[in-house]
């Protein structure tokens, strides 16, 4: 179908329910903050986005900050559509951020403005070299801890998303927030800069605990703002609308 004026090309996440919510997928080159409290399925969803990209022939890059990528691969849900040859062929690449820090000599707990520029350009050249069309940083919150001030965080995310967008890369930055947080990000600045926010959460209803997903914003497309309930399965993330009838929530 030809794009209407103003209609941006989509990067289908491959998660059917999410693509429906987004009227086709994430607008290409957007930088999306995928945020939520611990254990809500952020890593699984972000990884699925990359796997589907790799299956479609788009080079995909996972930058692991918190977890060693070997361990991450050993722990992933046994997706029926995941094939290790995607990794062997280089379609899906895992890079550990601590190794990058070390190579760049960024071992201090606190980065200067110059060092931030160095990190951004290193990440961008990596994505360029690999021809990455999809990228995930899991988590951006851990990187932000090395930046300390909101000014530096803003600078870092702005420059990074600009660089990735220039490369035609669609990116997901995984954010971690406490379960009781009223903000979408730990430092409050990530959410304002990101082109999109997808919120994952746990919700209690009459004693039942549900995992939920909600698209809070997404520049460049219409989207549903409703809450969905999700399940992490070997067929991938499945979504259904949260039922409202008569509930008090």
């Amino acid at each position: 179908m030809p794009l209407k004026p103003g209609d941006r090309e989509r990067c289908a996440t491959g998660v059917e329910g999410l693509d429906t919510i987004l009227y086709g997928g994430i607008p290409r080159t957007n930088t999306v903050l995928l945020t939520g409290s611990c254990g809500t399925g952020k890593t699984s969803l972000a990884l699925e986005f990359l796997i589907h990209g790799a299956i479609r022939g788009e080079n995909s890059l996972f930058i692991s900050v918190t977890e060693n990528s070997e361990k991450l691969l050993a722990n992933i849900i046994p997706y029926r559509f995941f094939d290790r040859t995607l990794v062997r062929s280089g379609r899906l690449v895992f890079v550990d951020m601590p190794i990058m820090y070390e190579r760049l000599g960024l071992t201090k707990p606190d980065l200067s403005m110059e060092e931030i520029d160095l990190l951004v350009s290193a990440l961008a050249s990596l994505a360029k070299e690999l021809g990455s069309k999809r990228l995930v940083i899991d988590s951006i919150t851990s990187v932000c801890y090395k930046l300390k001030t909101s000014e530096k965080i803003r600078d870092f995310i702005l420059k990074l998303s600009k660089a990735l967008s220039d490369l035609g890369c669609t990116s997901i930055l995984v954010g971690e927030v406490p379960a009781d947080s009223t903000s979408y990000s730990s430092f409050g600045v990530e959410e304002a800069i990101a082109d999109g926010i997808v919120l994952m959460a746990n919700m209690e209803r009459r004693g039942d605990l549900l995992r939920t997903l909600q698209v809070i914003k997404m520049r460049g497309t219409m989207h549903s703002r409703a809450k969905y309930v999700l399940d992490l399965t070997p067929m991938g993330v499945l979504l259904v609308p949260l039922l409202k009838g008569g509930s008090t929530q």
Partner: protein, 198 residues
Amino acid sequence: MSPELASAQQIADELLEMPEASAVSLQMSVDNYLDVIRGVVDLFANKKKMDTIYVTATISSEAIKRVLEALDIDSERVFFVDCISHIMMGASTAAQDEKTTLVESPTMLENLMLKVEYLIRRSQSEGKVVVIDSINSLAIHNNNWILSELLHILVSGLRSRDAYTVILTVEEHSTPDISNMVNLVCDHGIHAGKLREG
């Protein structure tokens, strides 16, 4: 004098007449439960080589498996979404296997839909049948508003995936409200119970 209950073959024949991916309200009596199971699962779904996704909120999947065995029905293509065993027996004793998925409680209707969706996607068979046993059991645990929302989402989702939906209503336990709710989402009705017309 009550009319005769429909036989398993009559139930299956009516289903076989219906277009693909129909949503069917099957009104039954507690007295012809076994005929309903044989008619839907064996003489309809198995005959058409379709997978059956059997959602039970009435009796445990274990008990239904024993029924299938006793009736000598091949259960190779039958998969269960069991919404009752977990609250009756707890997670550790309730059996969960390749063929059986547990939903923690019949109030977790979203999870019920998610498990159905999972089994539909995993299924390799061309057609599929989803049986809801029964709307009355679900109504014990949920209000009519939320149930009717569930039926709308479930039925439209299944229709788009070319799956039949068969919603069982037990006439002895039903109310006009519940029947209306089911009739609203279904394209066809089968009266297999005592209140059968004609």
